[in-house]
């Protein structure tokens, strides 16, 4: 059975305090690993897709990395506007996304 686990469930950081979010997965026939950002009361916003182990992608203060069983979302020197829930979603059979529960990030000034 396909499974996705994100940790931690919630993360509180001070502005400028770098950290990482983890996504562990067991998915047969993996077709990409997707990261989304979701603000309260809004739909998920696409951030990155990673397709192969060792691949990295960056966008502003965010960097996503991928291994065969995990993906990390590294946040460098975060700002309050980075506060959101970050969702990890491996792509499974037929291109369906298997969403994790998300990590709720709060960055305090």
């Amino acid at each position: 059975e396909d499974q996705v686990t994100q940790s931690p469930e919630a993360l509180r950081l001070q502005e400028g305090e770098s950290s990482s979010l983890n996504c562990s997965y067991t998915v047969s026939g993996l077709r990409g690993l997707f990261w989304y950002r979701q603000d309260p009361g809004k739909g998920p916003e696409f951030l990155f897709t990673l397709y192969s182990a060792g691949e990295e992608k960056e966008k502003e203060r965010l960097k996503a990395t991928l291994t065969k069983k995990e993906s990390f979302l590294h946040i460098t020197a975060p700002k309050p506007e980075d506060s959101a829930t970050y969702l990890c979603a491996p792509g499974g059979q037929g291109g369906k996304l298997i969403f994790g529960q998300g990590t709720e990030l709060s960055v305090k000034p």
Binding site: R31, G43, G94, G95, F99, G100
Partner: protein, 115 residues
């Protein structure tokens, strides 16, 4: 800007009263999806259309139906809403499925309340 638009943003209905949520897209994508997301939970796929082909998830209740009259529009019908159906409903689109370009782009969602 090209995008996925959901209407209304907020919908209040009564227990058992049918309700329809709508989604439109200007991305000209082949695939449209409907998800249900309850508070602090992951989005749960209800069904999707690939062009006109409808694909229902095995655990989607019969109470939920969908229509896609053309490429741009897709509707979610809840025939007899129960209290447990109160949730955020998300529409998403992708160009393709499983191969090629299948990044999913989401609308802002419709928050459904059932009284």
């Amino acid at each position: 800007d090209a995008m996925v638009i959901q209407n209304p943003r907020y919908q209040v209905t009564q227990f058992g009263k049918p309700v329809t949520l709508s989604c439109s897209q200007t991305l000209n994508h082949n695939v449209m999806y409907w998800y249900q997301q309850k508070s602090s939970q992951a989005p749960k796929l209800l069904f999707h259309y690939y062009d006109k082909d409808f694909n229902n998830e095995a655990d989607t209740p019969d109470n939920f139906q969908s229509r896609r009259p053309n490429t741009s529009f897709c509707f979610l019908d809840i025939r007899s809403p129960g209290l447990g159906d109160a949730a955020m409903y998300l529409c998403a689109t992708s160009r393709d499925l499983g191969t090629g370009e299948y990044i999913q782009y989401f609308g802002a969602g419709t928050r459904l309340s059932v009284l």
